[in-house]
Each structure stands twice: as C-alpha cells, then as structure tokens.
C-alpha cells in the first residue's frame, strides 16, 4: 500500500469527520439550538428594553458562541480516542499537527459555522442593525476558527480524564478572552461609529497566531494522552 500524501491524509480526516457529523445530525442540531435558546434567554432575563439589548447584544452573542464551541469540544477527540482511531491517526506517517488542523476545521464547520450563519438572525433579536450585523458576522467568521484551534489544545490535554468537561472549560475559557474582547469590541466600535478595522485586524492576528502554534501544541498534547 502506498503512503498517503499530506493533502490526501488531510482531506481524508476532514471528509471522515464531516461524514460522521452528517450521520449524527442531531448532534449538530443540538449546538445550533443551544445557541438560539441561550441567546433568547437574555432578553427574557434582562428585560425587553431595546437600548439595553442593543448595548449588551454583541457581548452576549459572542459569549454564546464561546459556550457553543466549548460544549462541542468534547466531541473533537473523545470518540476517536475511545475506539482507537486516534491512535491509528497518530501512526499516519504525516505531520500530526496538520491532521489536527483537519480535525479542528471539521469541528469548526460543525459547531462554529452554524453560529456564524445564524448570527445575523440572532443580532436582529438584540436590535442590531445594518452595518453592525455585518461586522458581527464577519467578526464571528474570523474569531470562531480561533476558538476551535485554542479549544483543541484543551480538548487534547483533558482527553479521557474524569470531569474533563468542567476542566476543559477552566483551561480554555481564560485563553478565549482576547478573542472575546476583540470580537465583541469590533461590533461595539462599529455601533459607536469609530470603525471596527482595528479590532478585526487583531482578530485576524489572533487567528494567524493560533494557526501557527495551536495545532502543534494540540499534537504534542495528543501524543502525551496516547502514551
């Protein structure tokens, strides 16, 4: 049998994960409805005052996206770890870090992309209009892949531990903070009329930084977990 090339291995990982997600469509639906329900709780809890909702909207939607990513992190490696696929993946004679990028990308398509696509609708719930809806979607599009990247590190570190769900939240949420600040800041500054370019650039920088380092750290953490 010939060795798979790097791109073949990468495409194989992505295709397999997406196919598995399509076979468990309820999992994907769950994270979508989680976002919708949590975002709808805030107007009920805070009260339907339009000015207040517009003020807290960007932050609430960003925190919701953060939580949706966090809750789906358990699915990133656990099933593969339990049935041994992860060990086989680690044996593929290609860089594990690149394969991790494939898995994280598939995770983003399943958990992050739906939030990005839903965000204009959710933004309307909070009375965001015109430009700021566009900035919200753009900031989530730039920011949620970073969340999946960073989350991958936490998921790999806590693989197979007792109480790993809570632990991964404690490890990963502090690292999410810059993305949250810049993401929500982009929307807020566009609403204030001072332009969102600076915050969006910083989000892009976060993405590039996480793309450079997170897959490598995740691969190291996975090898530690598999020992």
């Amino acid at each position: 049998m010939s060795q798979p090339s790097l791109s073949e291995a990468l495409c194989g990982v992505v295709r397999r994960d997406l196919l598995l997600a399509m076979r468990h469509r309820s999992d994907v639906a769950m994270s979508i409805f989680f976002v919708v329900i949590v975002a709808s709780l805030f107007p009920l809890g805070v009260g339907p005052e339009a000015a207040v909702l517009r003020m807290i909207g960007p932050g609430v939607l960003w925190v919701t996206a953060l939580l949706a990513c966090l809750l789906s992190l358990g699915r990133l490696f656990t099933a593969d770890y339990l049935d041994g696929v992860l060990e086989q993946t680690a044996l593929i004679p290609q860089s594990l870090a690149v394969l991790v990028i494939g898995k994280v990308f598939a995770h983003w398509v399943i958990s992050g992309l739906p939030v990005v696509l839903l965000s204009p609708l959710l933004g309307l719930q909070f009375g965001l209009g015109g430009d700021s809806l566009g900035v919200l979607t753009l900031s989530l599009l730039l920011g949620t892949p970073t969340l999946s990247m960073i989350g991958g590190i936490g998921a790999a570190l806590t693989l197979g531990l007792r109480g790993s769900g809570l632990l991964v939240a404690l490890l990963v949420l502090p690292l999410f903070v810059p993305v949250l600040i810049f993401g929500a800041g982009a929307v807020t500054s566009s609403m204030a009329g001072i332009g969102s370019e600076a915050n969006l650039s910083l989000l892009g920088a976060c993405f590039m930084l996480s793309l450079a380092f997170a897959p490598w750290a995740t691969a190291v953490a996975l090898r530690i977990a598999l020992e």
């Binding site: 590190i153 570190l157 806590t158 531990l161 007792r162 109480g163 632990l167 404690l170 490890l171 949420l173 502090p174 690292l175 903070v177 810059p178 930084l209 380092f213 750290a217 190291v220 953490a221 530690i224 977990a225 020992e227």
Partner: protein, 249 residues
Amino acid sequence: MAINWFKYSSPQAFLPLAGRMIPWFSVAALASICVGLYIGFFVAPTDFQQGDSYRIIFVHVPAAWMSMFLYVVMAIWAGLGLGLNARPSFMMAQAIAPTGAMFTFLALLTGAMWGKPTWGAWWVWDARLTSELILLFQYIGIILLRASIDDLRRADRASAVLALVGVVNVPIIYFSVKWWNTLHQGASVTMTESKMATPMVAAMLIMMLGFWMYSFAVTLARMRCVILDRERQPSWSKHSSIHEVVEAR
C-alpha cells in the same frame, strides 16, 4: 575545580542541598522584607498626590513582578522538562506554581486596596487588571490539570504544555499599559530610568529582593515535599529527616 552541576539534577542529591539552602533564603527573605517595609513606611516621603495610600506600592509592584516572572520561570522549567525529558524540571515547575498563584492573588488584592482610595473603585475592567486576572486563572488551571491526572508522567507533561501555551499572556500583561491607554498607570520604574524618589525605589527593590528570597525558600521547601512524595519507594528517602512530616501529612 569545576563543580559538577548535573549532580544536583538527581532528586537524591538535590534533597539535602535544598534542605541546607532553605534557612539561608528564609533569613534573607525576612531581613530584606523587614528593611524594605521599614524604608517604605518610615523613610520614604509621602506622595504629594496620593498621600500615604501609595505606600501599598511596596507590596503591590514587587508582587506583580513576581507573578509574571515566576510564570516565565515555571514555563522555562516546563519546557526544559519536555525538551530534555527530565523529571526534576517538572518537579520544579510543580513547586513554583502555587507560589506564583499566591503572588498573582496578592497583586490583585493589594491592587484593589490601592484602587479604592485612588480610583474610587475596588475593581475596574482595565487591560492590566484583566490580564493579571487571566494569569491567576492560568495558574489555577495548571494546578487543577495536574491534580486531576493520576498518571504522574502524563500530569507532568500535560501541565507543562498548558504552561507553555499560557506564556503568550505574559507580554500582554507587561505591555498592556503601553498598548491600551487605560486607567492603570504606566511603569514608574524601568531598567534605565525612574520617576520616583530614591528611598521609594530603594524600598521597592529591597522588597523585590525579599520576595525573591521568599520564593526560593518556599519553592525549595515544596520541592522537597514533592521529591519525597514521589520517591516514597527508594530506600534513600526513608533516611531523610523530613520523611516523617510527609508521612504524617
């Protein structure tokens, strides 16, 4: 004569060495903290803007420095452990973490006590305060991750990876007062110049030295406990004088 430093990379050789060094560092810590506090409270002049409330700076600034510095030191030990596959390095990282977390908490606490009279609020969501708070969360995360993994080898390596990932936060804290123009004042003392009266700087540097010595003493003491805790089986550790303490714990 060349000293063979690698001799002390074995826990067996390090344990008595640490035991001999602890009293010296403890005395040095106590002495310099007393001198620093004396100069800070009785010699340093009163600030013309903030009155006497500024005097918490002599605890606040050294604690904040130590919180960042100890994180970097811990990450270096963690990286050495991963790179050289050396157990004592991981033990050092493990021994440093609680002290670092303590200094981070102390910096936040004294900051709040200082913020109330000068800013009128215990807490503001300023860039430096927020990033220091995140540093505390990172310390706690590292300690908790280690505590929740039963396999020692995996606990060492996993918390080392987490410590290295968290290093990105340290420059953010350090430069936060430059990058974002927020409420927290900029650095009063840098390597090249100082904006403070000489006794103030002297008190701060002496307190800094005292905190350093304290960190050495406490880390070494904790290191001894970690070594004895991990090496319960080998017969050499049975002869150690503090073995009974660990057994009783």
